[in-house]
Symmetry: C3
């Protein structure tokens, strides 16, 4: 991974074998990012995405292996108890162009990941919503 | 729904049962947003997306019900006759990770929607293009 | 095509029959854009997307024809040897709502394309990585 900051924006290159959520955490902790909007594209060969089933309170995940191009990766960086918290959703296309996605658990880069992290000046906390079962924005 | 403004950006949390286009309209009208770029992620359980068929001038829409994760939600806020106008496209993944989408008519939130609205200082109007049959950017 | 600049951002309308990568190149060359993040939505009727297979070093591409709505178009504008270089990934939905995508080679607009180009003050070069076989960010 390498990156540079241009004004409010980090332009990040992640490299083969690196895991996206791990690297985003690293760059945000190093740059002390508390609040950001994230977009990316790239290529992965092993990713796990899922869906939180509100009825069963169960996270149903799917793992995809083989060559895939990321066609969307959108998310937010906020904080929970003051610490780094990321929420990313990803979709990716296979060699036939078919697209699969969901809430991103992990994705390993095959070729590259080009990520744009727009840092905002402020902080948004999260708190567990016991009824819904997930951590939601709690504005200070 | 709740939100905060950080510089040029609104960070919005929409809540279960709320409809995304309705809530985006509300926040933009309250904040007097005339021009913005929108990105979001989240989870929905009832959404209608479609495709405008230029040959038949017919909007062909598909309704999806059940648990879905939004994997992309991209759009613009502009004005038509000076009034709020939104244009959003959405795609979402089911429990198997399969992705469906199109032009967004309506989407009801199941868990949360985290929306990033980047407000631009200016205005872009729309006008109906009679040949194409849709409202296109008309720059002042 | 027509566009306006609002602060750091170009709001672009591309028109029927225009090809997206051709028009993005034109607007960036005219506006002397060296570094930018791109998002868009719209409708296309002929697009070619693909996947770079790292094992065979082969670009496997798929062409889709007929009415499609762009549900995600994400990318970066950088430079290679100081000249304009774009890297875009696209996904699009057909009339049934099914989504297909990948690395964007070309896409012809049917109705409109609404593109948001956020220009950053700086430059990121690219260089061919001989092992991976593609042009990666090389930070100056």
């Amino acid at each position: 991974m390498d990156y540079r900051r241009f004004g409010d924006t980090l332009i990040v290159r992640m490299d083969p074998g690196e895991e996206i959520t791990d690297r985003l955490r690293a760059v945000c902790e190093k740059e002390r990012v508390k609040l950001a909007a994230v977009e990316a594209l790239g290529a992965v060969n092993d990713f796990t995405v899922g869906l939180f089933d509100l009825e069963t309170k169960e996270f149903r995940s799917n793992r995809f292996q083989g060559p895939y191009e990321i066609v969307s990766l959108t998310g937010t960086v906020t904080t929970k108890d003051g610490e780094f918290y990321q929420h990313l959703h990803l979709s990716a296309a296979n060699a036939a162009g078919e697209v699969f996605g969901g809430h991103l658990s992990a994705a390993v880069i095959s070729a590259t990941c080009e990520m744009v992290v727009r840092v905002l000046d402020g902080q948004v906390e999260r708190a567990l919503d016991p009824e819904i079962g997930i951590n939601l924005f709690r504005f200070l």
